[in-house]
């Protein structure tokens, strides 16, 4: 009986702490809500792929060029919000507000994109752990 209890305890601990990708598409697993970012740059590549669209933005600063990968919602989610393949042509200047990937690096979960004409696009997701930061809500 004691041995069975021990085995069950070990199994529970293993289940609790093992595995890397059960939540591999969630905000909480990948991005840090305590690392908000705002970058300005030019769209150089857009991946309209599932489960997330990715917008690649070239940022020029004093240290050189950085290519940031910005994660958005599923393409169809963005399409339903009126964001189409024509909305972000290559070379478009944008400002991106979002949250950086855990551990740093040039990747982030995008929340809001501001176009040159001032229009704002909500590109974020709303899964577990995604911040309720007002992005995407009508003002």
């Amino acid at each position: 009986m004691k041995k069975q209890l021990f085995n069950v305890s070990i199994l529970c601990l293993v289940m609790l702490f093992s595995g890397a990708s059960w939540a591999h598409h969630s905000f909480a697993a990948e991005f840090d809500v305590n690392r908000p970012i705002e970058i300005t740059g030019q769209v150089v590549k857009v991946q309209w792929i599932n489960p997330h669209a990715w917008i690649h933005v070239e940022v020029v600063n004093s240290e050189g060029n950085e290519i940031w990968k910005i994660e958005g919602g599923t393409p169809n989610t963005l399409f339903r919000r009126g964001i189409t393949r024509d909305t972000l042509p290559i070379g478009t200047n944008i400002v991106v507000r979002g949250y950086q990937v855990k551990g740093g690096g040039f990747a982030a979960n995008g929340r809001e994109i501001t176009l040159e004409n001032g229009n704002k696009l909500f590109v974020g997701t709303s899964g577990v752990g995604a911040p309720d930061d007002g992005a995407g809500k009508s003002k």
């Binding site: 059960w22 909480a28 857009v46 309209w48 599923t74 169809n76 042509p89 290559i90």
Partner: protein, 163 residues
């Protein structure tokens, strides 16, 4: 006419209840003995469902660069067959997740699993019809199936811990 005493009726009631419980336990033991429950839910997600979902997601969409637009849709029979196989595996993953050791009697869990089966069946049709647009749209639906279940059953602490 036979008259039963209260004591007799009570004894028979207890006997019937015990017998029913015993038979149900035997039936359950016989059913569970037919399959292995060694692969836990997390492993089923990581090893069975995820690889097939990834294949579905990697098999549609567009990549836009200064050089032009790359269409990721399958272009050969072999690529479409791989999508078909992944779709069938997603249907079967939905079946697996309904097994008692995964579902644990949770109705909503079973509902999410049936949603997975449905999307898998639609993906199967898309593969058989060589319908790239449907494959793309259903890829989004598949993510919604996954995310809605994660939102309900995978809490924030667990998701952060898994990073």
């Amino acid at each position: 006419m036979v008259r039963y005493t209260k004591k007799y009726i009570n004894s028979m009631t207890v006997l019937v209840v015990c017998l029913s419980w015993f038979l149900a336990a035997c039936d359950q033991k016989q059913t569970t003995a037919l399959y292995s429950s060694q692969i836990n839910t997390q492993q089923t997600m990581n090893w069975v469902l995820d690889p097939h979902a990834d294949l579905i997601w990697d098999s549609s969409g567009f990549v836009v660069t200064a050089q032009g637009v790359q269409n990721l849709a399958p272009s050969t029979d072999e690529e479409w067959d791989a999508v078909r196989n992944a779709a069938a595996s997603i249907v079967e993953a939905g079946n697996l997740l309904i097994m008692p050791h995964h579902a644990q009697g949770r109705d909503a869990w079973i509902g999410h699993s049936r949603g997975l089966q449905f999307t898998g069946m639609e993906l199967l049709k898309a593969a058989e019809n060589r319908d790239a647009q449907a494959l793309f749209d259903l890829g989004g639906q598949l993510y919604i199936n996954c995310q809605s279940c994660h939102d309900q059953y995978l809490d924030l602490a667990a998701q952060e811990r898994l990073n």
